[in-house]
Subunit: 303 residues, 2 copies
């Protein structure tokens, strides 16, 4: 293996290993990616991010005019992924550390398989615009507060196995959001396996379980959330899931429901800003949160 600069980083404990490959020379087959992300022989991460110049991609000339750097995101199992909300902040933090880009009040553009995303700095936090998003069931679902039902294991509600109302939100990837009445129920929920979602979308769904923590007059909404990511299991955080949770919670609220939300996940705290007005769809959804860079160096040996 050639010598490849690497760094490990995480955003609210979604962990990634980043490999610097400016000229797109690195061949990464799924087996190599899985070994690099492996718990025991690799970096024990949720994914791998190849940092490559857009111009070095096979059809990247046009993209390069909008975004100099491309986030080639791979899941821990070696498959490719469209996007990763928490990953964009770690990607941007690395560009800054490696002096490949500056991030200030003006945003840096990042190419992804889901289009160009913009990341800017706000104090200690990095802010990514993850939009667009849409309430899958539209106005009917908004009126009913429900376009799916969800059964979650081990939640000690009065009637075990009672299906709970869920709202479906699409952010390029599918989400189903369910509200529970209190933190005890949230803590008890068994999210190791996918809850039973009816109807289940053909492509599957992430499931976000939330508990509202704010009072009715709050200017900023506040949710506690846990998440089951499809094909992965319960994770410490999910950026698009946090946005979906805020979208659903605003629909469930009254006319004065806030547009700005703080969402606590097991891995830390994130913040969502939705455009005022239309609650059924939006072109923008800003996710703010931390990004931490960890061990780094030059990789010379693969597992």
């Amino acid at each position: 293996m050639r010598e490849v600069p690497f760094i490990k980083g995480h955003g609210t404990q979604n962990a990634f290993v980043l490999l610097l490959d400016p000229d797109g020379a690195l061949e990464l087959d799924p087996g190599t990616v899985a070994a690099l992300c492996d718990r025991h022989t690799g970096f024990a991460t949720d994914g791998l991010i190849r940092v490559v110049r857009s111009a070095a991609l096979p059809d990247g000339k046009e993209l390069a005019e909008a975004a100099e750097w491309f986030m080639d995101y791979r899941n821990a199992d070696g498959s490719t992924a469209q996007m990763c909300g928490n990953g964009t902040r770690v990607f941007a933090a690395y560009l800054e550390r490696a002096r490949l880009a500056r991030i200030g009040a003006d945003s840096v553009a990042i190419g992804t398989r889901a289009g160009v995303k913009h990341v800017r700095r706000e104090g200690d936090l990095l802010v990514t615009d993850l939009g667009p998003w849409v309430l899958v069931g539209g106005s009917e679902a908004a009126a009913a507060g429900n376009d799916a039902t969800v059964e979650i294991g081990a939640v000690p509600l009065t009637a075990p196995g009672t299906p709970l109302p869920g709202l479906s939100v699409d952010l390029g990837n599918p989400h189903t959001v369910v509200a529970l009445p209190d933190a005890d129920q949230l803590a008890a929920a068994d999210l190791r396996t996918l809850p039973v979602v009816t109807p289940l979308p053909v492509e599957g769904t992430n499931v976000e379980v939330v508990v509202p923590l704010h009072d009715a007059t709050a200017q900023v909404g506040h949710l506690a959330m846990r998440v089951h990511e499809r094909g992965v299991g319960e994770t410490r955080s999910c950026g698009t899931g946090v946005v979906a949770a805020a979208v659903a919670a605003r629909v469930w609220g009254d006319a004065a429901a806030p547009d700005v939300w703080t969402v606590d996940v097991p891995g830390g705290r994130l913040h969502v800003t939705l455009p005022a007005g239309d609650r059924l769809r939006g072109e923008s959804a800003e996710l703010a949160g931390p990004a931490a860079l960890g061990v780094g160096g030059v990789l010379t040996a693969l597992p």
Copy 2:
């Protein structure tokens, strides 16, 4: 930070990051060690091993005559540890990979805080002599099969909270071994917290929960085992714990009980050979198992 060669490795999923420091120039404070082992910013390992020449240690001249290389083992919390059974195999595998030692039928000597240990190769496995060991309660405990009682959470025995008989085995570190009747009980045991051991040794104890899988005429004993390591929680494997389990199971057996044991832990399979004869103490206990080397390179940035 100076450039430090590193490699990640594991033995039955006890994972380590090894740092090559032949001249003993590396200062590793507990905070740095903890950051390097950290789940999110570091290598996500159970410990760190500094690979240093014995001659480079402050008082290492004498040791260097017995063992050229010293395994400076640190726990994931940054504290130092005497020894790590699974770590010795990964240490030896690294010495071989880095062409710092040859390992064949003749063993390589490794300096540790618990004295010089010898590792040799047998086919795909590496074999470490972890002895000496002693049955803490001596012949009285052996006759009774019991010198402590243990209460384990969530084990579905007929009477919940029933104390189970335990045997105390010392391998330089303390162990309490408990037998359960079947695999279902083993799977159900809650080892996230330390079971209640009475009397509890002042220095605490590791607790090994085992189920015998062999029939009475077997030449090789066979155990399934899970372990709670003191100060850590449940782990995927524990080398000295596996030896303690074999020592206890032989005591519990009849006069024809085997001296050779296969022990299945969540992280894989290990093999123990005890000296024939005295079941109360021994100077030798051979632990055989795999060692896998993973990602490696040169470290230039700390978390």
